[in-house]
Subunit: 411 residues, 2 copies
Amino acid sequence: FRGLTDSGMEVIVAPRPGFSTASAHLGLRFGSVHTRFLDDSGEEVSVPDGSAHYLEHKLFEGKEEKVFDRFGRLGAQFNGGTGFHTTTYYFSTSRNFTESLDVLLDFVLNPLITEERVEKERGIIEQEVRMYEDDPGFRSHFLLHRALYSNLRLRVSPGGRVSDVKAITAADIQACYDAFYSPSSLCLVVSGDLNPDEIFEQAQLLTPAESGAMGQFLPVDEPEVVAEPWLEEEFPLARSRTLIGWRESVSPGTGELGLRRRLAAHFALDMLFGLSGRSHADLYDRGVVDDSFGHHYSDGPDHGYAAVVGSPENPESFVREIKNAATTFLARGVKGKNLERLKRAALGGLAGSLESPSALASALLGSRLRDEDPFAARSLISTVTCEEVDACARELLDPARSAVAVLRPSL
Amino acid sequence: FRGLTDSGMEVIVAPRPGFSTASAHLGLRFGSVHTRFLDDSGEEVSVPDGSAHYLEHKLFEGKEEKVFDRFGRLGAQFNGGTGFHTTTYYFSTSRNFTESLDVLLDFVLNPLITEERVEKERGIIEQEVRMYEDDPGFRSHFLLHRALYSNLRLRVSPGGRVSDVKAITAADIQACYDAFYSPSSLCLVVSGDLNPDEIFEQAQLLTPAESGAMGQFLPVDEPEVVAEPWLEEEFPLARSRTLIGWRESVSPGTGELGLRRRLAAHFALDMLFGLSGRSHADLYDRGVVDDSFGHHYSDGPDHGYAAVVGSPENPESFVREIKNAATTFLARGVKGKNLERLKRAALGGLAGSLESPSALASALLGSRLRDEDPFAARSLISTVTCEEVDACARELLDPARSAVAVLRPSL
């Protein structure tokens, strides 16, 4: 079931008969990278990094009672999260679903943001940001982002830096809320043993009759080349943490186009760096990579990049070896047999991963916030061709668009 | 640093200079499987499954204020968990560490358990248990435990069943607390940029001068053979979730002996089912396994078993194929070259995984609660021999001690 409330909120209900847990995920296309925008009256607004995350925390405070306490009394497990391009709020529960959905829509649509309340939260958020910065995985991830991108706000974690958190004002938060927390930018996905019509009616009742004007993101001017080919930081580690990233020159886009690109990139990287591939076996045998090695592809409306991570004693030789492996892989080309195997495995993994109402609702919301058809992946996978994966690998693994981030042991 | 307070609580401090976050993990050797014991006066006590978990929740309530609120005001992130054989409580924070450690020891050592307070929590815990039961991974895991074991309380999840939660009384919870929450059974591990002497002094001050008598677990009589060779349940899934388990006839033991066995078992299973092994490549090529396939080894003072999990369309042929792969693997024997590669990778993974104070404290506490030397793994890994892995594989993968658990699609 899929519909729009009068105010323009998208509502999707994915029935899962037989489950006693039901789950609701509410999200919007506003995240940490959106720090410059036109507000609903067309004025240009600029807020510090971390404002979207601060706003998320602020909403948790509720108008009269903390949101966690409200859900807790109903027996629902609740949380939220701020990403680069989206913010989400979600709960799962085996009883009081209707009441919990009331709370979810109420606290997001009816906040109370005051100077005093914003001040109260500052210490806690600073502390959260400091704790993230102590995590080597987190730190090296954003070091790579700063190596890859000159201006995109991906350079900074969704929470912002401590100095950002200190600078954020109630006015900044209110500006973000007014510009983007409008029913027409919200998407609600519900899954469980539920009646879609009842859910839609409830959503209709809980949202205002119409949606106000919306703000508009201002584009960030980002060069097509990496910011720094090699960036280092010291950190109290026993072994280095070394990342290599290869950025796309421009974003692969959203919708079906973006999804296709993401699939092709995943297949290419799995062949090259995946545990069952020939290159990986070779790197593993020679001790270049160990169990700490991993790879991923990340993309959004404004970016796309591939990355590998390892904990080598010697970052320089690790980088050389990995880049050589990429060159050898490109010279050999993509094998049809390998691709078929990866496609089968991906379809199998997909089938097994969306069983519970919570996992399903989360995946559906993620697709919608990227403007993808939630069920497109399944049918697209089989249509991806060898030539496509090969072309994607060649474009993506261009050494001229690669950068290295190293956390070097300071011990 | 390692010492005992006057009351017998073990205190370990692992300094991590340069980190702004510090972490404290407090644990004890009492978990969900300990439902029959002699109390401190030698009386036999029997409590419902789930009592240890209920007690954990009860402690969270605090004497006057909820523990989550106390930590929240200090800016510390707190949680706890009940396992089969242990219960742990832990926090991480970048400020107010001393105050947070006060709270941690205070709420664990000074609880208030009353009929009324126990009643209040019942609905929430029931709800938590119901939500777990909706998770196919969780359900199939305990289905396998029931197939493998006739009497061990591993048959039931740490939270118990809904009927257990309904049956637990304040007296049950108090009996567990009195028998096992004694300073001499507690272990505190702290990690961060901290002064060990100050931490020890604080722990000394916060614990009572002496420890009362301790309860004693009553052994469970468990046959050396599996309970049910094939167990099925229906569940609303698109594809089956199928697990195969191979149990040890008796527990591999704790301390260095248990650790050695665990290492050998891990290496054997990695060779057979690991993504870089020959058998896995073959199973993957032929479409028997896909990205949903995994394997693990689980052990404790009372048990040990190996398991694989997959989402096959046809559970029967999946089980046949996996068992054939095991037979072929045993016939071929363990290759020295493969073992060396796995050892190197394991050492590399180990080095990369214990960097943050929180990860380090958690790992150290885990080792201590299993009566292992926290740093033994590193040196033991290199001493594991081919013969040992081969013998372990032969013993462990005995078809006579295997059982299958299938969640079959009811859709």
